[in-house]
């Protein structure tokens, strides 16, 4: 076959104006309810149907966010919150995947951790927060540990289920071709388990964020949750609403981010789209 036969080359994407327009219309229709919500918020507050204490106008709240951004408070609080949530998430991800795989491969480890994981997974582990404060103090160590403690169980469970579910024929074939234990792990088990592990991580990330916010609210100090509880103590309702918008946007960005990572990592996989959650 000569080089210039474009049989397998992708056709140049034709500019489909109609499709573009349809996509834009759909986008616009998708944001319309949110715009209505925003306008209703501003209207309700401006018309004094609700007191400005209960519902400060959105414009006041946005002004507050802008002021926080200029003074550097926003960057500081956002940075601290994301740092602790993501550090805890990363530790939970690495330790959880490692433990899940070891549990799948080693019967003794499995025997020991199985009941612990199955009992601890459904527990409201947030109740242990005062104990973590007692043991580890009020700073980063106790907050990050709390995040790890809460976020690790979905990762372990998902990894264990995934590693167990790896097609035995794949393992046998690889082994009969002379793959070492390390190669087996790197070339077969991890890639085959990847989709389910990523689903576990997609469950764990929002948990990490929820828990991080609660720890900040209870312990105070810097961070978006700490700033929000501070504002609520001083009956500063614009500050409270600024906090909720900042936290909502941060949460949305993280969730979108991890689903982009998923698509990037699983381009080779036949899964048509993301799981329907999130």
């Amino acid at each position: 076959m000569s080089a210039d036969t474009p049989i397998l080359a992708p056709a140049a994407p034709a500019l489909r104006l109609d499709r573009l327009a349809a996509g834009l219309t759909q986008r616009a229709a998708g944001t319309l309810p949110l715009i209505v919500l925003v306008v209703a918020w501003e209207g309700l507050a401006r018309a004094h149907i609700l007191s400005t204490f209960l519902l400060p106008p959105l414009s006041t709240v946005l002004e507050r966010i802008w002021d926080d951004a200029l003074s550097g408070d926003l960057a500081l609080n956002l940075g601290v919150t994301l740092y602790r949530a993501l550090a805890g998430f990363a530790i939970a991800a690495i330790a959880g995947v490692a433990l899940g795989i070891v549990m799948a491969r080693n019967a003794a480890v499995r025997w020991f951790f199985d009941p612990i994981v199955s009992v601890a997974f459904p527990m409201p582990k947030i109740a242990f927060l005062p104990i973590f404060m007692l043991w580890l103090g009020l700073y980063d160590v106790s907050k990050i540990s709390m995040v790890v403690f809460n976020a690790i169980f979905p990762v372990i469970t998902a990894t264990l289920a995934a590693a167990e579910g790896v097609d035995s024929y794949l393992l046998w074939s690889a082994r009969s071709l002379g793959a070492s234990a390390r190669q087996l792990l790197r070339e077969i088990i991890l890639p085959a388990a990847m989709p389910q592990v990523l689903t576990g991580l997609q469950v764990a990330l929002p948990i990490a964020m929820i828990v991080e916010i609660v720890t900040e609210m209870l312990m105070g100090g810097t961070g978006l949750g700490g700033a929000m509880i501070q504002a609520s103590r001083f009956a500063d309702s614009a500050g409270v609403f600024a906090g909720i918008i900042e936290i909502a946007v941060a949460g949305l960005a993280l969730v979108k981010g991890i689903s982009m990572v998923r698509r990037h990592l699983l381009v080779w996989h036949q899964e048509a789209e993301d799981p329907t959650t999130v």
């Binding site: 527990m123 409201p124 005062p130 409270v240």
Partner: protein, 247 residues
């Protein structure tokens, strides 16, 4: 019985280690009270009635919030899948708020509804509703079109199709969404009670810890954790019964 013992033996091992470590004085009693102290503190709280009154107020809040979340969440989710206009209006709102860390709502609820029951019930309602909505929507959306067409062609009304075809086929996914909501409602309940409350388990944990009564604090923490675990197991048993027809 003996199978259960072998299975849960590691938990006994952990408890024994806890007791041994405290008995041998390896960790100070102020950091980790011994297991028998925790047990007797639990007995004291239970006999004194504190555990029951606070427990009842926590569980009532949780049950009320979760019940509202389940009713409204499944209703909205199924309607989203069934009526296009509902989907167009509600879906962007759900998609935007779903990833929000729900604990951020705690101060807003306090601002709006104060320190009492209402702020917790509404917090749990709002927080736990989104997973239920999304799972009901995904379940109902996945209903086999052929089943709907068959039912319609056999003369079932739209409402009857909704009730007898769409809802049952959405059930498995809906029930797993409710499980998520159950876990989330415990988290939100305890977190909001720890932060601001005048009764409930979380409130108890807070004042016992502040007063240095660590054995009693551990007793309440373990009680809450145990209740969360039991609620999940009971729910799984219920789900197995409800879905028995699928086999």
């Amino acid at each position: 019985m003996s199978a259960a013992l072998t299975r849960y033996f590691p938990l006994l091992l952990l408890a024994a280690t806890w007791e041994a470590v405290t008995r041998l004085g390896l960790v100070p009693a102020s950091a980790l009270p011994s297991l028998d102290k925790v047990a007797s503190a639990w007995y004291g709280l239970a006999a004194g009635g504190d555990l029951w009154t606070n427990g009842v107020s926590s569980m009532t809040r949780g049950a009320a919030g979760l019940a509202l979340a389940i009713v409204f969440g499944s209703l909205i989710g199924v309607l989203m899948a069934w009526y296009k206009p509902v989907h167009v209006v509600v879906n962007p709102v759900v998609q935007f708020f779903y990833p929000m860390p729900k604990s951020a709502l705690i101060p807003v609820m306090v601002l709006w509804l104060g320190f009492g029951d209402a702020s917790k019930v509404v917090l749990i309602f709002v927080g736990a509703m989104l997973p239920v909505t999304l799972s009901a929507y995904n379940g109902a959306r996945g209903t086999d079109q052929v089943l709907i067409w068959s039912a319609r062609s056999m003369g079932a009304s739209r409402l009857r199709v909704l009730w007898e075809v769409v809802v049952p086929s959405a059930l498995p996914e809906l029930l797993s969404g409710i499980r998520t909501a159950l876990a989330l409602s415990f988290v939100l309940l305890v977190a909001s009670e720890l932060i601001v409350a005048r009764s409930g388990f979380g409130y108890m944990i807070g004042w016992l810890g502040d007063g240095g009564a660590y054995d009693a604090m551990f007793a309440v923490v373990l009680t809450v954790a145990f209740l969360g675990f039991v609620a999940d197991r009971l729910y799984l048993m219920l789900v197995a019964r409800v879905l028995a027809w699928r086999e």
